[in-house]
Symmetry: none
Subunit: 257 residues, 2 copies
DNA sequence: CCCTTAATGTGACTTTATGTGGCTTTGTAG
DNA sequence: CTACAAAGCCACATAAAGTCACATTAAGGG
């Protein structure tokens, strides 16, 4: 009798996992007409590859954690891709500055397995996340906490930024105008981002595609060289690509329009 | 018969908790068709992970992220009592300063239903917790993050403290000597707490009974008037009660030896 | 063909999850 | 403050799930 390939089964297990979030050993054994032991071996193998985590009775996918705040989930995939792309510019031994925001949080997430870094941030979640690695030296730029951003803003924050000098700054933006200008919701936020950029030798702007359709009132003046805009993809028509490309190189992370 | 996966149940419990704020053991038992005992075990497990807090009859979500989980649970009841007692000294309209630590976090918990307050803190979990109330104005005293404390320390923090003046300061301590002196683990932490006290019109020290048996190396010099030591109970013999009472009034929160 | 190898099945034994019953604790109505 | 029902806790029982060693089978290469 021809034996069905184990690889096919593995693929289907992962597919089921993707659809349902979790699978049970007994269900799979019945579905594929193999013994539970075989399924267990499959799951063990896949677990070793880091494709799932096994639990008593079955397995579930790794990203199943229903924590994290709501906004983080919005276009999570795109933001994670941006985060990974941005992390590639960070070299060991660097001091970097990370702005608040869900996109920059994805960058922090991508840096958690790194060491020998100094990270300055005004974001509380990013600060907590990186401090817990215990290998990344983290400095929190204090100030008045803005509840929506869960980050510090204000005179104190501006003062603190001025005291530091970093290799790279990764800042977010409230929106991007059709002329390629970064914009923000408030005067203070715009000023703060501007000062962050000024404290760095080079600045990357992190913005996912949803920012292209947003128009916010205050332009962010950026004096220091913009090393690049890192985004997941660029919607057509929202901003003149030539103009944009002329001003700052665009790094597209991930794919799919 | 195949048993449904326990992790799925855990996930759904957390989801329900996120949506409803609290869940009851009996409801969950009925919903998942398992015994109440099983649900209790689930909740206990999740509570140990710091994902929720159990109460008589069920569980409710904790308003802050999983963080100091381990230490927070240690003598949680005593610390909660201390937090509630300390909160009574805080009046509407006040500006207060809250030090980092699991005991002071309990104070922050007790303040979450209040409004019209300004709170300064160097603790990230406290900052996040209070900022999310949206009614309490929160200022984070930034600086280098100490991973174990999840709080900011250092020159920047000292600078920021000096810029403010508050009505009350609530500080922690690493230990209490038999002569009634507050002590700390490091020179920097001691200095910082000392400055916090100096920035306030009056200072309360929050310490649960476990601190009486701890002797840490650096004394905390406190210049401003100590309004009181707030503790759950005082172990006999560890510190001369007369001496202690002479220096600062003791407020015993809660009960049981 | 026979031999090797990888995948799968089997059975004995261990571990885990859940249920059950007796007893204690807690919350609350009277 | 007391009484009592609901909830919690603990110890034990049990069935499902996991583990491990060994047997079996199919595929492939001389």
């Amino acid at each position: 009798m021809s034996r069905p390939l184990a690889v096919d089964r593995h693929g289907q297990i992962l597919q089921a996992l993707d659809a349902q979030g979790s699978v049970s050993v007994s269900d799979l054994a019945e579905r594929f007409n193999v013994s539970m032991e075989t399924i267990r071996r499959d799951l063990k193998l896949l677990a070793e590859e880091g494709r799932l985590v096994t639990v008593h009775g079955g397995a579930h996918r790794l990203s199943n954690e229903p924590s994290l705040s709501r906004r983080t989930i919005e276009n999570a995939e795109g933001k994670a891709a941006i985060g990974r792309a941005a992390a590639e510019f960070v070299e060991d031994g660097m001091a970097i500055l990370i702005d608040s925001g869900s996109t920059t949080l994805a960058l922090a997430q991508a840096l958690t397995n790194r060491g020998d870094l100094t990270v300055l941030t005004n974001s509380l979640p990013i600060g907590l996340l990186l401090a817990r690695t215990k290998t990344i030296k983290t400095v929190l730029l204090g100030g008045e906490i803005e509840p929506n951003d869960e980050a510090a803003f204000g005179l104190d924050t501006l003062d603190l930024i001025a005291k530091y000098r970093v290799d790279l700054a990764f800042i977010g933006a409230g929106g991007i105008s059709e002329t390629g200008q970064f914009t923000d919701y408030t005067r203070l936020a715009a000023e703060q981002r501007s000062r962050m950029a000024a404290a760095a030798k080079a600045t990357y702007v992190l913005a996912d595609h949803t920012k292209f359709s947003k128009r916010t009132p205050v332009p962010i003046p950026i004096a220091s060289p913009i090393a690049g805009l890192i985004t997941d993809y660029m919607p057509k028509g929202e901003v003149a690509p030539e103009a944009a490309a002329r001003i700052w190189p665009i790094r597209i992370a991930g794919s799919k329009p």
